[in-house]
């Protein structure tokens, strides 16, 4: 699995990236390719350009500037030489490739009837590298378990983009599905987990088989729209815990409500900084108002690492872990 994402770049860019120190390469979160502009990487919350002669630089003038040929090759590689299979993805503006890496695209939008039908002249790529950080959920999970009833509490994970929501969800899925004898907390039964993986990011499925370890009792609906997928899961796969990424639309909220009333625990993530902010959003506001969620986990990250805050349903703080307090690598959203 180590750095398999390097293979999706054309030779010129791949050679520049490979020349970087291995320790840095392991921390890279995003590689940004913009045609005719400097090649950029983001790592550990910072950014840098890559110099044409190799190495890092902050001066745009010294940086390597990918040309038309690079952009063309990159698009060809990430679409498996078959852009026509990606029409739906182009409408949404991103492609997820096997391994769970997500590539955001920018170009010129082609409209049809007022909505985006297609992207053409694609010249901007944001390659977000998915990483598995086993154990990232260790300190959070004990607060999400309702020991008296042997279940997981309804949880919403909140953070701005790129702070580690998906990584957190992935590790939660693995631990919940695997059960455990979490030491002082006593043993936890292994539960059936259902992941609705609309963007193929949580499990990074390749032909339906997860590339990441998401636990032994986990079912994945890959590429399925969340609202519909959650309903399908409830009806046919009888999960104990439903996991979904980035809920936000009103229909997602309706599906979450449905799941909650069906006695299924929901662990979901959403963009946001504070619970109070969330209450004002049209889709999720209702869920917060009605105190549907029993736990909120708020992630915040700095160069030192990732910190958590866990709040209960009444928004009272339960746990605060500052960045850098736990050992382990950086997160990726």
């Amino acid at each position: 699995m180590a750095n398999d994402w390097l293979l999706l770049f054309p030779e010129t860019i791949r050679a520049l990236l490979k020349a970087l120190p291995a320790a840095l390469l392991d921390k890279v979160e995003e590689v940004r390719v913009r045609e005719g502009r400097p090649l950029e990487i983001n790592y550990a919350g910072r950014f840098s350009f890559i110099a044409g002669s190799g190495g890092l630089t902050l001066a745009p003038a010294e940086a390597y500037k990918p040309g038309r040929e690079d952009a063309h090759r990159l698009l060809d590689l990430i679409s498996n030489h078959s852009l026509y299979t990606m029409e739906e993805e182009l409408r949404k503006g991103f492609i997820t490739i096997p391994g769970g890496h997500r590539i955001g695209l920018s170009g010129r939008a082609v409209l049809s009837g007022g909505s985006v039908e297609h992207l053409r002249d694609i010249t901007g790529f944001n390659v977000r590298i998915a990483r598995e950080v086993t154990g990232i959920a260790d300190s959070v999970l004990p607060y999400l378990v309702d020991r008296s009833r042997q279940r997981i509490m309804h949880t919403l994970i909140l953070s701005p983009p790129q702070q580690g929501k998906t990584t957190m969800l992935r590790d939660l899925a693995r631990q919940i599905s695997g059960g455990g004898s979490a030491g002082r907390e006593g043993s936890r039964p292994a539960l059936k987990v259902g992941i609705v993986d609309e963007r193929s990011e949580i499990a990074g499925s390749r032909r339906g088989v997860p590339a990441f370890d998401v636990g032994p009792r986990t079912d994945i609906l890959d590429g399925c729209p969340k609202a519909e997928g959650m309903m399908m899961m409830i009806r046919s796969l009888s999960p104990d815990v439903l996991i979904a990424d980035e809920i936000g639309r009103p229909e997602d909220a309706a599906a979450v409500t449905e799941a909650l009333h069906a006695g299924i625990s929901v662990v979901a993530s959403a963009h946001g900084k504070e619970v109070a902010e969330l209450a004002r959003r049209p889709g999720l506001g209702g869920l917060v108002e009605q105190r549907m969620f029993e736990r909120y986990v708020i992630l915040h990250r700095s160069e030192a690492g990732t910190g958590f805050r866990v709040l209960d349903g009444q928004k009272r703080g339960l746990l605060l872990v500052s960045p850098g307090e736990r050992s382990g690598g950086d997160l990726h959203a």
Binding site: L7, D76, S79, N80, H81, S82, Y84, T85, E87, R120
Partner: protein, 172 residues
């Protein structure tokens, strides 16, 4: 006696050359037809099957007869990891390696080369249009090839024999 034997060999060689020339005239429309069928299948795979290009070419290759089989399989292999070449480069390589085996001419090669530049780079509708255009051009070539076959196939055969006879006469 030896002279007679030599004469027979010369006439035989001439006849064979004529026949092989005639076979080329007969094979060309057949191979173009095969190419047309292959591209029609490709169109279906792209428009209705959403099959990725390397996979589609592999399937078509397996269903086609030689020499097109080797051509498509090679192109599919070039496009797959670890080589991962662009469709354009993959087809160029495959045509370099296998074009000789087919009785196809430069016109068909140019049609396929132009198509390979656009394959996989646009949405399904656009892909359909490009393949449709290539099909139309191939059908024209096929008509020309059939005409040539009618005109020259028999003629090549008799010309071979006659050329052999002419050499024999000149030598004697």
């Amino acid at each position: 006696m030896l002279k007679l034997f030599g004469a027979v060999i010369v006439i035989l060689a001439g006849t064979l050359a004529g026949f092989s020339r005639a076979a080329q005239y007969a094979d060309r429309p057949r191979h173009i037809r095969g190419l047309i069928a292959a591209l029609q299948r490709l169109e279906t795979e792209i428009k209705y099957g959403y099959t990725p290009l390397p996979e589609a070419l592999r399937r078509i290759g397996e269903q086609s007869k030689e020499p097109l089989k080797a051509l498509f399989l090679e192109a599919a292999r070039e496009m797959s990891p670890p080589l991962d070449r662009t469709p354009e480069a993959a087809f160029a390589k495959a045509m370099d390696d296998h074009w000789r085996a087919a009785s196809l001419k430069a016109a068909e090669r140019e049609i396929l080369r132009q198509l390979s530049c656009t394959l996989g780079t646009s949405d399904r509708m656009d892909q359909g249009q490009h393949i449709g255009l290539a099909l139309q051009q191939l059908k024209q070539e096929e008509a020309v090839a059939r005409e040539d076959q009618g005109k020259y196939e028999k003629m090549s055969k008799s010309l071979g024999l006659l050329l052999g006879a002419l050499i024999v006469i000149l030598i004697f």
